[in-house]
Symmetry: C2
């Protein structure tokens, strides 16, 4: 996998040699249906569009949707199948310099699991209607979790790019 990076690094970027073997495995449990079929069309984040998207859960996992309509918001975890995995320092197109991967929400990361907080609009059988997604149509779903304001909402959190030690 380190071979992914023998060319294609931008100045200042760094790649790690990933292990040959995986430590654990994932099951895709459904698909996210969105209006965006190429990367350039995707909103920059989940608040960048009002589009209503669909979470289509595969039948074996659909019983796990029970009680979910009691939640106003959900956390969705999904898999960025096309992401480069070895980049540890990367230079986002709109940044003024290289940044550590763990300071970014870029899909390029050792485990390309993306996370969005979405508003739950309703359920129709095995599918949920949600608002707040930013990903490509057909993106594999990994998990659905209830969003608890008590533990998940930190409205005072800040990200200060200038104040970070390099």
């Amino acid at each position: 996998m380190a071979g992914d990076h023998t060319f294609g690094l931008r100045p200042g970027e760094e790649a790690a040699a990933l292990p040959e073997r995986f430590d654990a495995g994932l099951h895709f449990i459904g698909r996210l249906r969105t209006p965006w079929i190429d990367r350039a069309a995707c909103p920059k984040n989940g608040l960048g569009s009002d589009a209503v998207c669909t979470v289509a859960v595969d039948p074996p996992y659909a019983p796990a949707l029970r009680n979910v309509t009691g939640c106003t918001h959900l956390i969705l975890l999904y898999w960025m199948a096309h992401a480069t995995r070895g980049l540890v320092v990367q230079r986002p197109r709109h940044a003024d310099g290289p940044r550590g991967t763990f300071s970014l929400r870029s899909p390029a990361r050792p485990n390309p699991i993306a996370l969005s907080v979405v508003e739950l609009l309703g359920r129709d059988g095995d599918t949920l209607r949600v608002r707040g997604l930013d990903c490509l149509d057909g993106t594999p779903l990994l998990d659905i979790k209830p969003y608890f304001a008590s533990t998940d909402a930190r409205p005072d959190a800040r990200v200060d790019r200038a104040g970070a030690e390099p």
Copy 2:
């Protein structure tokens, strides 16, 4: 894997037969060091303890920590290695009845990826000091993300157990 559930289901619980093969693989990128060495000692959630915990990132991934100290809060994703994976309807000990897995934050889920929002207290080389974890000492780390209040904080979100359709 469905064999995990040939016994041990509580009344009302349901298990799915998981596929034989995985769809994607994960790399463990570090370990969470916490004061809790058995499950009974773990707090119920990250706000249940003031303990300062440590995120120990493995050396190949440590360059990805660059710029992370500009964040007051982080999202940690980690792997619940001991969790049962097939349960789609489960009966938490303190609930009044069976619940869909996607309405719960239980570690037992098809992809046992846990998520905590933590306060970042500081960085010492390859390790971060954080507050807000709830997991066993030695838990495998999957990802570190910056927490953005603009997209991740929903202080008005609610979970209404009674109002959910079954």
